[in-house]
Symmetry: C2
Subunit: 333 residues, 2 copies
């Protein structure tokens, strides 16, 4: 009895120990949106590749980018933390932000650790790999490019705004976004992950400053459009003042299509849960409102609309990591 099925039990044990489990999911974005998704996803699969924009030029990341010439580490750091084993000392250190100290105040310790590691290990990707080990990250986090890129936005009135933080601050609608240099190289591991993915997820997060910049790296866009995996855009719950004021769900897709080409997105995930009045009023004060889901327009763009109640119960209007992951993971091929 003891030895019955020993072979298959040994194989299962081996698989659990030595093979990573779950579908191969690629999540593309940046900012505070992508980490929310990753936090949920890691409960369903260990085969996660986060492809993260590195166009940030503000805050602690911007200072380090300016002073050390390294890629801005902030967005990548947040994704690493989202995929990390939680509640470890290292995770706490990576989250820590100095509130005082000349030149230290505002700096995130995780950013400083990545900066030191880039110097110690010689390059950005090795540094991120080392951090991944230390934080016991489930999956991998990759920058969409290793080059220093600058976002350039042409606004509705024809003016041109340079730099991620300037673009975020601008209240004029964005007509067209590009990155400089336009021919920046992608990271080979990112292309490989996209090509062999079971599911490609875009967002949630700032359309122009988190999601789109990744797709402006030409090879990334070509790989995403060409991979057989289903592609799903996760629509933001709220509009973002300046960037997407007044945008419906289909407006988000339209922007992606205008920049990268038509018709390659298979699904859009939208929230159908009512935003509580109190929060709605708070957001309205800043010029943000719930994104209107114009289902007919979406359908006419050829995407399948996945509707679900997705809100968390924090003070902000955010996706709940678990609910969101559960919905998107069911879309894998």
């Amino acid at each position: 009895m003891v030895f019955r099925n020993l072979g298959s039990r040994l194989f299962r044990f081996y698989k659990r120990q030595f093979l990573k489990r779950g579908p191969h999911v690629v999540a593309i974005g940046g900012g505070t949106g992508l980490p929310v998704l990753l936090r949920g996803l890691k409960e369903f699969t260990e085969n996660i590749t986060a492809i993260v924009t590195v166009a940030d030029d503000g805050g602690s990341s911007g200072r380090l980018r300016g002073e050390f010439g390294i890629l801005p580490p902030g967005d990548i750091r947040n994704c690493l933390i989202a995929l990390a084993e939680q509640e470890t000392l290292m995770e706490k250190l990576f989250c820590y932000r100095f509130r005082q100290g000349e030149g230290l105040a505002g700096h995130n310790l995780g950013n400083l650790l990545i900066t030191a590691l880039v110097d110690i290990s010689g390059d950005f990707q090795s540094a991120v790999r080392e951090v991944s080990k230390v934080l016991k990250v489930r999956g991998q986090v990759l920058p969409s490019t290793l080059e220093q890129v600058v976002l350039v936005a042409e606004l509705a009135d024809g003016t041109v705004v340079k730099g991620e933080s300037n673009i975020s601050r601008s209240s004029n609608p964005i007509r067209r976004l590009r990155i400089e240099p336009e021919d920046c190289a992608s990271v080979p591991e990112a292309l490989k992950a996209i090509t062999s993915a079971d599911l490609i997820l875009l967002g949630p997060g700032s359309l122009f400053t988190s999601v789109l910049p990744n797709l402006l790296v030409r090879d990334i866009a070509v790989a995403v459009k060409g991979t057989p995996a289903p592609k799903c855009y996760i629509c933001n719950v709220m509009t973002q003042p300046g960037e997407t004021t007044g945008f419906t769900a289909s407006d988000h897709l339209r922007v992606l299509y205008e920049h990268v080409g038509e018709g390659w997105i298979d699904y859009i995930v939208v929230n159908t849960q009512e935003v509580p009045l109190e929060k709605k009023e708070k957001y309205a004060h800043d010029g943000a409102e719930p994104v209107v889901v114009d289902e007919q327009a979406l359908t006419s763009l050829g995407v399948r609309v996945i509707k679900a109640e997705l809100l968390d119960d924090t003070e902000l209007v955010r996706h709940d990591p678990g609910k969101l992951a559960q919905v998107v993971i069911s879309l894998e091929k």
Copy 2:
């Protein structure tokens, strides 16, 4: 045959796994001297307690002390690194020093990590304990006091100089050293380690700014003098300009005795290896020369003189960690 001596083999296995090995050694000092000793000691015993001065007020440590109100972490950090498992990523990060960045240049990343940990864990000792775990430190590192102490030196000409870095810089001989507050409390774990030690080591390192400040914490001096363990002073190889200009070996002991009381030191370890001419000339340029071993004066002070060839082969005139540890470890009771 297989089961013969199983009991004793199991006990040996248990001892190796669960009991720390080697004599209980307490090493008292600070600066760059104590880490040299610790680096050698850890190869002989796992029961090391380093008691470290926290009167530093210069450099990265001084800035953090001033801006965050924490104990200056630098000397403690160097001792932690000396006792750490070497060549790990964490060890490299703790050694890393920023060379650029506004407000970052000159800061040691290990100091920043300790600063963050004091905030996260709530107190200095917990922070040091957490670091010890992360660095896999062999032994424990304790500050001699948890209070913010200031060194005050009365010089030969009667002037009074305050602060460790000012005292180090002064070229006038020091007549008397004290700490403020004079009644600062010691750390209980330090007293416990001293009381149950098999060997007490003092130095090597700056006499006035690394070794003596620990003994000016009254409970530490009382415990050291009262413990039955043999006490050994490790004499510096070279004099230190300003602090110990022209000092013989017995002058070092005399200073300790003048401040803490007579006759409690059992051994003095002195180097008998000739300092190479080239190095001697380099040091002479800065006003430092080999400490003259006045053996008769030492013997008349009642200490046993342990002579050995102790130099390493780096560019500096330093003790070799292995040679030094081998000599001192033989002195345990």
